[in-house]
Amino acid sequence: MAALVVVSHSPLIAEGILQLTSEIAKEAKVYAVGGTKTGVLGSDFDATLNILNKLTEDTEVVVLTDLGSSRMTAQMAIEALTPEKREKISLSDAALVEGSIAAAAIISAGFDIAGVMEQLEPLNLPK
């Protein structure tokens, strides 16, 4: 089953996404990174890279972000991976809350990441 990784500026948003998705799709694998390592608002490149590196050993991943700079951080983390691992990841521009709930539900229904990305498309924002 595919996994969802959320990259946010805020640890509280990250926690809130986990709370929401666990309510809607308990069995979906959802991971959320929020805030920087120094505890301020911002996205954490190293934490994002670590989780993507680990998951893509054997799992396809959809990544959702909360703002443009989180998107850039996620993009740079994806670019830092090997090409084989990179291919297992799709970065979505969907609105974070709606997109996370949709992605978790679609993943738990057994869709692959191409299927998830297709269904997230109507939720895309200019990030």
Binding site: T36, G42, S43, F45, G68, S69, T73, M76
Partner: protein, 207 residues
């Protein structure tokens, strides 16, 4: 003689210094039209560059730029981290293993770096961002390199141009980044990213 590793190291340290000195100014500019953290984010990123350089005494120009790229990416958290990180990282790719850089190499470094920033930030010249300084500076260096202008003269022109261009962002309505939410109300304010780029350009030197 070109720009040596030692000079590039000196420039990067000067960059860290000028950002630290202007931390509050950049944050104040950002408080007017953004989220008020640009100076502090930049200072954190460039302090990390300084630390990383201290840990790696013998680096080539490419190695120096790659080290300078990773520090803000890992330590900033805001948009300036990935954007300046991309500028350095793509710039490093453009110079390869060259031991010294001529003016044409500096122009190529900035060309690749600026293209990287455009792609990363999904932006271009004229949107009230750092690109409003970096794009004209890159073009100026490129045409001076082609015209055979000396490195010192080209850098002096580039610094003057950077100041003018940063000032001109006052007259641009933001269409990218957080300032774009303000629309017309972003007029009359200098873009903090354009100013941080201007400060960084001001540290360039040939030896």
């Amino acid at each position: 003689m070109g720009v040596t590793s030692e000079t590039i190291r000196g420039i990067l340290l000067d960059m860290a210094l000028i950002i630290e000195e202007n931390k509050q100014y950049l944050t104040d500019l950002d408080a007017a039209i953004g989220d008020g953290d640009h100076g502090h984010n930049m200072a954190r990123g460039f302090a990390a560059i300084k630390t990383k350089l201290g840990e790696n005494p013998e680096l080539t120009p490419e190695g120096l730029l790659k080290t300078a790229a990773m520090a803000p990416i890992s330590n900033v958290g805001g948009a300036s981290g990935p954007l300046y990180g991309t500028l350095f990282l793509k710039g490093a790719g453009a110079i390869g293993g060259k031991p010294e850089l001529e003016l044409a190499d500096l122009a190529a470094l900035l060309r690749e770096g600026v293209e990287g920033v455009k792609t990363r930030g999904r932006s271009d010249f004229g949107e009230k961002t750092m690109l409003d300084v970096l794009v004209p500076v890159q073009r100026s260096l490129e045409s001076d390199a082609a015209a055979g202008v000396s490195c010192g003269e080209a850098l002096a022109k580039a610094k003057k141009l950077a100041e003018e261009c940063a000032g001109k962002t006052r007259d641009i309505v933001a269409t990218k980044g957080r300032a774009s939410y303000l629309g017309e109300r972003s007029l009359g304010h200098i873009d903090p990213g354009a100013m941080s780029s201007c400060l960084l350009i001001s540290t360039l030197k040939e030896g």
